[in-house]
């Protein structure tokens, strides 16, 4: 087990750091995805048809093409895109995005498309009678959003968002192809230098399983908390 030890001779500490990077990328992308999901859901639920089309296009395109393609596109095309935007503002220096930024952006856009659908469903699950009652009670739109919509949408969306989180967590492995040193990348480097690929990819698999089961528990606890006042048949 020498190769898995912590310290200079072993890969234990490197794998642990890789796991921390995986967690950071996953959390950042999931959070960014949530923001996009709220935005996407409001597009899809808009009263204006052209706005709805925009929301539909976002979810259909992102969910219809491979995640790896989106990651490659942003990795190879991202620099150029950012530089041409910067040039509009008079900045002509070379800009290079790091793998973390590209990765979080790409995974966020992907998980945002799935979050959009989850949040849209949760918004539609709030009974219209409650909105009417709130209006009748004289609440303004902001107050209705804050007091009636947000608490319930959060509760309805939680199980679906748990799935999106698991998906995002697993998708972080794809970021290894653009060179971010997370679990997969560390496992690749370690297997190259020790010639024991099975050992390291198995360890990687175990780490992902561990992260998945821990976060699953977290989401279950959150669901219990959010449903604490709800009567069950």
């Amino acid at each position: 087990m020498g190769i898995l030890s912590f310290g200079d001779g072993g890969w234990g500490d490197e794998m642990l750091l890789g796991a921390l990077m995986t967690i950071s990328v996953a959390v950042a992308s999931f959070a960014f995805g949530l923001v996009l999901g709220v935005g996407g859901a409001s597009l899809k639920l808009s009263r204006l048809a052209p706005v709805r089309v925009l929301g539909d296009a976002y979810t259909t395109i992102i969910r219809g093409i491979p995640d790896l393609l989106i990651i490659y596109l942003l990795f190879f095309g991202g620099n150029g895109a950012v530089m041409s935007v910067a040039r509009l503002f008079g900045y002509t220096q070379y800009i290079e995005l790091n793998a973390f930024t590209v990765g979080v952006f790409a995974l966020g856009v992907i998980s945002g498309a799935y979050s959009t659908e989850v949040i849209r469903g949760a918004v539609l699950a709030v009974p219209t009678g409650q909105i009417e009652a709130a209006k009748a009670a004289g609440m303004n739109r902001l107050l209705i959003f804050r007091r009636i919509m947000v608490p319930q949408v959060a509760r309805f969306a939680l199980p679906g968002l748990g799935n999106v989180w698991q998906l995002t967590l697993k998708d972080t492995s794809l970021i290894s192809v653009i060179g971010l040193v997370e679990i997969m990348r560390t496992a690749s480097v370690a297997s190259g230098s020790t010639r024991e690929p099975f050992t390291f990819y198995l360890l990687a698999a175990l780490l992902y399983m561990l992260l998945a089961s821990f976060s699953n528990r977290g989401f279950n606890a959150a669901e219990r908390w959010a449903n604490r006042g709800v009567r069950r048949a």
Binding site: I65, P66, D67, L69, Y72, L73, F76, D171, F198, A212
Partner: protein, 238 residues
């Protein structure tokens, strides 16, 4: 994006598409057979069988496909002499077969859960009725449980097929020149980034669009009772 570029690149992309359209159906068919077996194991009263099935499904659903592909393709190399001895090395040496094995095992795990849900949704009264008619277990499965379960599972299985079309792109990470592999090759040769990826994306989108439509058509065909057009219903009511 010039017309010449499209003319030059499209045949190569379609060549990659051909390989994608070979990998996906093959893994789907093999994975489906595996999934039926695993779902039956999972529902069996034998604790060893159901435990094995549960473990397999749990492991493959909670790890990324990329790990599974690398574990099979690169990982098998660590036990090369063992695989050579039992004669499996010629298979595991080929990236193509490693990709097929990984995709099959992956979709098998997800599909078995879909099929299990379908089987569990079969109303108990139908099974009792079939037993009362004297059907054997095999006949009961073939005539009652399987057809009803398939109808129930079809929408979810449609999603799984789309996921597989997308997942097959990961085969490009182990040197397979399917659609995304060819796309990357073109990008690194020509440095034309956006148009090339956009063309590949459009191809993936149209496959998935076609698949969605195909599944919808099949759903309507298999359960015409659920999709009776409203006009006919009204005509009967009047």
């Amino acid at each position: 994006m010039s017309i010449e570029f499209i003319q030059e690149v499209l045949p190569r992309l379609l060549g990659g598409l051909l390989l994608t359209l070979q990998i996906v159906p093959l893994s789907l068919v093999l994975g489906f057979a595996l999934a039926v077996l695993v779902a039956l194991m999972r529902l069996s009263p034998n604790l060893l069988l159901s435990g094995l099935a549960y473990g397999y499904v749990y492991v493959f659903r909670s790890t990324p496909l990329l790990v599974q592909i690398f574990l099979i393709y690169y990982g098998s190399g660590q036990f090369r002499s063992f695989f050579q001895e039992i004669g499996l090395w010629p298979v595991l040496r080929e990236a193509y077969w490693c990709a097929i094995i990984a995709l099959t095992l992956n979709t098998g795990a997800y599909t078995s859960e879909i099929i299990r849900g379908g089987i569990q949704s079969v109303p108990w009264g139908q099974i009792e009725a079939a037993r009362a008619c004297g059907m054997s277990r095999l006949l009961l499965f073939r005539r009652i449980i399987f057809p009803v379960a398939i109808r129930q599972a079809l929408p979810a299985y449609g999603n799984e097929m789309i996921l597989m079309v997308k997942s097959s792109s990961l085969a490009s990470t182990i040197t397979i020149m399917e659609l995304l592999g060819v796309t990357r090759q073109i990008v690194s040769e020509t440095f034309v980034v956006f148009p090339t990826f956009a063309m590949a994306g459009a191809i993936y989108l149209s496959i998935n669009f076609g698949l969605t439509r195909g599944v919808q058509w099949l759903e309507r065909r298999l359960s015409p009772d659920l999709y009776r057009p409203r006009e006919t219903g009204d005509a009967i009511a009047h």
